[in-house]
Symmetry: C2
Subunit: 208 residues, 2 copies
DNA sequence: ATACTAACCGACCGTTCGGTCAGTTTATGA
DNA sequence: TCATAAACTGACCGAACGGTCGGTTAGTAT
């Protein structure tokens, strides 16, 4: 893998620099396609020094995943406590989560790839935890709206929550593809996307 | 990677056996984590014989992706020509596509991973083509319903199509995770899932 | 200055990687 | 039956892998 380092660079030094470099490379190419030498090079250090800070490649990978999950988790706490009507809160939670995963695109891609990879016991549990946590909070919000009588009684709250999360996650995953489809005009505007999604979720597409 | 072969076995022999084995392993572990020796072992042949049939590892990988995309593409043709009302046809297209990607889970995972990987020029264009094709057909159907006056004029047809495809794709991606969440009772029932999704897409979740 | 430790490195290890070579077996068709 | 080509193989190649070795530097407390 003699691919040129990247457009990205590492600012910090020491252990933090290693973590940064590893996050960049793992997110970009995946676990197996990244060598410890490549990480050392991008971090401006030596391979043995990485092993001074981390037991092995798996542990370095796990450290990055855990950091990403924790950050996402604490940001969800903030979002959930917001005020407003039920509909506003649900829409803002969805929009905030989407902004968050886009802003931290590298770690999101890392966690998502691990959660959805279908194999490797490496860090799947940790990654699954994040996906499930977003999902559970969405379900709770939808269920709450249902109890308040704002939502139809005959819909499955987990299904509505699933549709919101799937829209957000698939939006994030397909952003590079969407930008090549000219008729899509929300590829660069996550706010407009969420607004449209919530409109359809709330009101449906049928003519009244 | 001395992981035991798998529960899967290869039935065919010769070139077809190599393709089968490679598809199994690539889908399970991804390109970089699969060695040519492992493929040879699972295909009950030798490594040089793989190179007799395929120029190199990349070409073998590309051959599998192309086969998968072609099969999916021809199945979409069938689905699109179905009769019925607009709503029936849209629901059946969505359900059929979901059944299809679940039935061919291995190749779907392969194509999806390639399309969403965010790197590697290996086969991304081919994989993107499949994602875009499903999307374009959905957009055309939604737009048709809009022209017939069955759908609201103020919704973006690409957005409705995106939500349907995202629900299907994310359903496929998260099936293993969903089975661990007890409150989800459509994890094993793609038909019920599609029905619920289309209900929400058409009618929304709000109390009338 | 001394002693101790964390941070760091060049050189190297055994193993496996993608890929090749020189040759053998198997099927085909005249 | 015999030539020809396709299918197939064991042994091997240089390169790169994850990881370790012995040793050096830099900071810090006494």
């Amino acid at each position: 893998m003699q691919t040129p380092p990247d457009n990205a660079t590492v600012s910090a030094s020491g252990e933090q620099g290693i973590l940064e470099a590893a996050e960049i490379l793992f997110a970009e190419k995946g676990f197996d396609a990244v060598s410890m030498s490549a990480i050392a090079k991008l971090a401006n250090t030596s391979k043995p020094n990485i092993y001074h800070h981390f037991k092995n490649k798996d542990e370095l990978y796990l450290a990055i995943i855990k950091t990403a999950v924790q950050r996402a988790s604490s940001l969800l706490d903030e979002l959930e406590g917001a005020p407003g009507t039920f509909r506003q809160r649900l829409a803002r939670f969805s929009a905030g989560q989407l902004d968050n995963i886009i802003a931290h695109g590298r770690s999101t891609q890392l966690v998502l790839r691990e959660a959805l990879s279908g194999n490797s016991e490496r860090a799947r549990e940790t990654a699954n935890y994040m996906v499930s946590e977003v999902f559970n909070r969405l379900v709770a919000m939808v269920r709450h709206g249902q109890e308040n009588g704002e939502l139809r009684e005959d819909i499955d709250p987990t299904l509505a929550a699933f549709m919101i999360e799937s829209a957000n996650m698939f939006y994030f995953q397909t952003m590079p593809i969407m930008k090549n489809i000219p008729e899509i005009n929300y590829a660069d505007d996550a706010g407009a996307f969420t607004e449209g999604v919530m409109d359809i979720i709330f009101n449906g597409v049928l003519q009244k």
